[in-house]
Amino acid sequence: MSNKASDFIEMTVPAKTDYVGVVRLTISGIANRMGFAFDEIEDIKIAVSEACTNVVNHAYTDSEKGQIRIGCGVYDNRLEIMVVDHGKSFDYDDVNKSLGPVEGKSVEQLNEGGLGLFLIESLMDKVEISGEAGVIVMMTKYLHRDEVEENVDRTSPAPTQ
C-alpha cells in the first residue's frame, strides 16, 4: 500500500448549493478515470455531496462568504477525498497527519447533518472527521479491481443505531 498520493487535485468552490453538483461531477470524473465501478462512483458522489452540503448548511453564517475546499488524493489502490470548510489553502500531507480516528465529540457536533453523515459512513470504506481548523471530513474508497463480489451485502439494511 503506497502512502504518497500519485496525483492530487484541489478545488475551492463557494459554499453554496449551486456548486455541490459541480464538485460531485468532478469527483465522479476522477473516480471514473481511476476505474471504479458504476455503483462505487455513485456512492462516492453521494458521500462527497453530503460532505459539501453539510458545509453549505452548517459551516458559515449567512453573512459569511464561505468556501468549500476539496482535496482528492489519487492512490494506486484508493481515492481519498477531503472536504474542508474553512481555513487557508491546505497542505494535503499536513492536514492528513492531523487526522485521527473519529472521536465521539466531533461526531456529536456534526450530527446535525443527520442522515448525511450517516450516509457518508455507510457508503465509504473509511471516514475520519477532525474539528480543529473548521471541520475536515476525510473519506476513503478503495479500488476493488481484482476482487469478486465482495459487496454482496450492499443492499442489506444498516444495523439499527
Binding site: L25, T53, L115, T155, T160
Partner: protein, 110 residues
C-alpha cells in the same frame, strides 16, 4: 444538474413525476411544490421516482418531512418506481420501514 417536476391531479390524487437530480440545490423547488400538497386535508400523493438520476439525504429529508405532514393532515404519501440506487438509499437509512413504497410500477411503464 436540474430537477423537473410534473404534477397531475386525477380523482383527487396528486401524481408527481420527478426527473433529474434531487440535491441541496434542487431541494427548494421540490419543497415548494410538495409541501403545500402535503398540507391539504386527506390528501393523497403519489410520487414517481423512476427518472431520478441522483438523490442524496436532502431528498430523503424532504420525503420524511412530507410524510410527517401528510400524516398530520390524514393524508397518504406513496413513493414508487425507485431505481436500485435510490432504493438502496432508503434501505441503508432504514426509511423503507416507515415510508409507503411501491416499486412494482417501473418507469418504463409510463
Amino acid at each position: 444538474m436540474n430537477l423537473q417536476i410534473s404534477h397531475e391531479e386525477t380523482n383527487k390524487v396528486h401524481y408527481l413525476t420527478l426527473s433529474g437530480e434531487v440535491d441541496a440545490y434542487t431541494a427548494p423547488k421540490l419543497k415548494e411544490m410538495l409541501v403545500p400538497l402535503t398540507e391539504e386535508k386527506n390528501t393523497q400523493i403519489v410520487i414517481d421516482l423512476s427518472n431520478i438520476d441522483y438523490m442524496d439525504s436532502t431528498g430523503l429529508g424532504i420525503f420524511v418531512g412530507a410524510l410527517k405532514s401528510t400524516k398530520k393532515n390524514d393524508g397518504t404519501l406513496k413513493l414508487r418506481g425507485m431505481t436500485e440506487r435510490v432504493k438502496r438509499l432508503f434501505e441503508i437509512t432504514g426509511l423503507t420501514e416507515v415510508m409507503d413504497i411501491d416499486n412494482e410500477v417501473k418507469g418504463e411503464a409510463r
